[in-house]
Amino acid sequence: MSAITREEVSHLARLSRLALGDDELDHLAAQLDQIISAVARVQEVAAEDIPPTSHALPLTNVYRADEVRESLAPEQALAGAPAAEEQRFRVPRILDEEA
């Protein structure tokens, strides 16, 4: 049995905002299936009572003081923009309201 279906791969592509063609999806589905089967080995070893580690080092409470620093000039901020207008980033029409 495969670890991941073609449909799931297609769903993942939408979630990841990747417009992939059918060939690419087919190819990826096979590779992901192989990789997921390999990495599923982690399930062999980690018992329930093992706490997870999200950060390499156990640092806590790193804060900065509430001080204003210089911002970029708007020209710098917009310099890399594919399109800009009225000192704003121009983006294609947005389909849905904010999530």
């Binding site: 950060h55 790193v62 804060y63 900065r64 204003v68 970029l72 980033f89 294609p92 904010e98």
Partner: protein, 500 residues
């Protein structure tokens, strides 16, 4: 989409019991943003308060603003929450053009503050609203939708994005389900939002201005048939940008959902948007794909473990909270429940208190703010606090009244002058020549003239009809453009006519 049938509110409440949930976002008023040093001022030129961090440029990293954490802890403590000993930020992943990293730094299953409550009062009854969590996150940028007819998102040809707001610290306060409020549900929702706003304002951590978006409510509503044990499916209404809208949105959703249910339909779990103009909600998103935010611990930020000492320090620094304060001023100012409510609803508590602090007595301070000044605020369509007059100036006017230099009528003219930008009370008095005329010589001459002009009335008084003196006092006041001391004028009239 078919237009749903709305059910009459009373009928809806007869059949269904509403369950509410309110999620409130509050922008903190820190000097700099949540994770970078950009300024946070409202209304700046677009994209002038941005840097590599809040623009999400490749390679940039967030660093947490300590003042924001202190601010949220203040809110948590004021809401009677527990402040957890250890928690992490999490990334909430979804794509949206106004969110520079396409993930929001937020908190997921480890909120900083949990299990609180806030008591609110509606028509003499107290409701305890349970708070599930208070967590820290960052705000998004703002899009301007261009083209199309409405200026709204639908039909727009493109959008222009300003990231000044992106990364401003945002506190989210989530209630537990609010049940058993019956037909009062809309009022309870509004009272909660009002009380929360007061509370946060009193802490000094946000200006909580709903019209500027520094406080925003999402209202969850579901209905269950009366007597049922299971809750219905809820909708989440966003864009609720005033206290009045909170009330209207709840009411509107009750009417809509009742209509849907009684037509045999099913309420869909969805995001809806409230429209101020129609007072109705519309469906917000085409839900082809269920949202999957793929939360995971934010690796760029280390966990927070606020020490108990720090929390105790913050607790000790909390100001008097609105509920305690209301109890105190009711007693000190000797107010009835109704008077207290009016003062609170008018947003006049701070103003009156400051006026008293500048030497006015409580009754006078309340009188001016609640009557004359409230009326003028209403006329101008502004909040009382936004009138261009200070409590100190109100106290000065009242001091002049107490000294006999002004009467109430003149005082109103002084307020008029101050509000018109003519200067402070003393300047207005001087410039307009507003002074009570109590000098007997000057007044006497005016009275003589008035008696001469109104011989018939004078005769009646001489004949013992003392009540007629009022007409002559009125004439004196008119002749002096209100500047006479009316009491003294009456004494002099009666004296001159031998009726005293």
């Amino acid at each position: 989409m078919t237009t749903p049938t709305l059910m009459d509110y009373d009928e809806a409440l007869a059949k269904y019991e509403p369950v509410l949930g309110i999620e409130t976002h509050i922008e903190l008023g820190t000097a700099s943003k949540m994770f970078c040093g950009c300024a946070t001022g409202f209304g700046a030129e677009p994209n002038t308060q941005v840097c590599p961090v809040c623009l999400g440029l490749p390679g940039s990293l967030p660093v947490t603003n300590r003042a924001a954490i202190e601010g949220i802890i203040k809110i948590g403590l004021a809401l009677n929450c527990d402040i957890v000993e250890w928690c992490r930020f999490a990334r909430k992943n979804y794509f949206y053009p106004d969110m520079p990293k396409n993930y929001q730094i937020s908190q997921y299953d480890e909120p900083l503050c949990v299990d609180g409550h806030l008591e609110v009062e509606v028509e003499g009854e107290t409701y305890r609203i349970e708070i599930e969590r208070v967590h820290m996150e960052e705000d998004t940028g703002k899009s301007l939708h261009v083209g199309g007819s409405t200026g709204r998102i639908h039909g727009a040809e493109f959008s222009l994005v300003d990231y000044n707001r992106a990364g401003i610290p945002l506190v989210e306060i989530v209630t537990k389900p609010i049940v058993a409020t019956g037909e009062k549900a809309p009022l309870v929702a509004r009272a909660y939002a009002t009380e929360l706003r007061e509370l946060v304002r009193s802490l000094g951590v946000s200006d909580v201005r709903m019209e500027q978006g520094s406080m925003r409510c999402d209202v969850n509503v579901s209905l269950m048939p009366r007597g049922a044990a299971e809750w219905g499916t809820r909708s989440e209404t966003k864009n609720v940008n005033s206290l009045r809208s909170v009330e209207r949105a709840v009411r509107s959703e009750i009417e809509r959902q009742a209509g849907v249910l009684s037509d045999g339909g099913r309420v869909i779990q969805e995001t809806r948007h409230f429209h101020e103009d129609t007072g109705r909600t519309t469906s917000g998103r085409s839900k082809e794909e269920a949202q999957d935010y793929r939360y995971f611990p934010e690796p760029d930020l280390v966990p927070m473990a606020p020490s108990r000492e720090w929390v105790a320090e913050i607790r000790a620094s909390l100001p008097e909270l609105p509920a305690a304060r209301r109890r105190r001023i009711q007693q000190e100012w000797n107010l009835s429940d109704l008077e207290l409510r009016d003062v609170v609803n008018a947003g006049a508590v701070d103003l009156i208190e400051a006026t008293i602090a500048h030497g006015s007595d409580a009754a006078a301070a309340r009188k001016w703010w609640m009557n004359e000044l409230s009326r003028r605020a209403t006329e101008q369509g502004v909040e009382l606090a936004d009138l261009p007059i200070t409590p100190e100036q109100v106290a000065r006017v009242q001091a002049m009244i107490a000294a006999g230099e002004l009467n109430d009528k003149l005082a109103r003219k002084v307020f008029e002058g101050v509000l018109a930008g003519e200067g402070g009370p003393d300047e207005v008095v001087a410039a307009r020549g507003l002074k009570v005329v109590s000098d007997d010589g000057e007044l006497s001459a005016v009275i003589d003239q008035v008696i001469a002009d109104n011989a018939d009335v004078a005769d009646k008084i001489r004949a013992g009809k003392v009540a007629a003196a009022g007409a002559l006092v009125g004439a004196v006041m008119k002749a002096t453009r209100g500047q006479a001391d009316a009491g003294r004028a009456r004494e002099l009239i009666l004296e001159k006519l031998g009726a005293s």
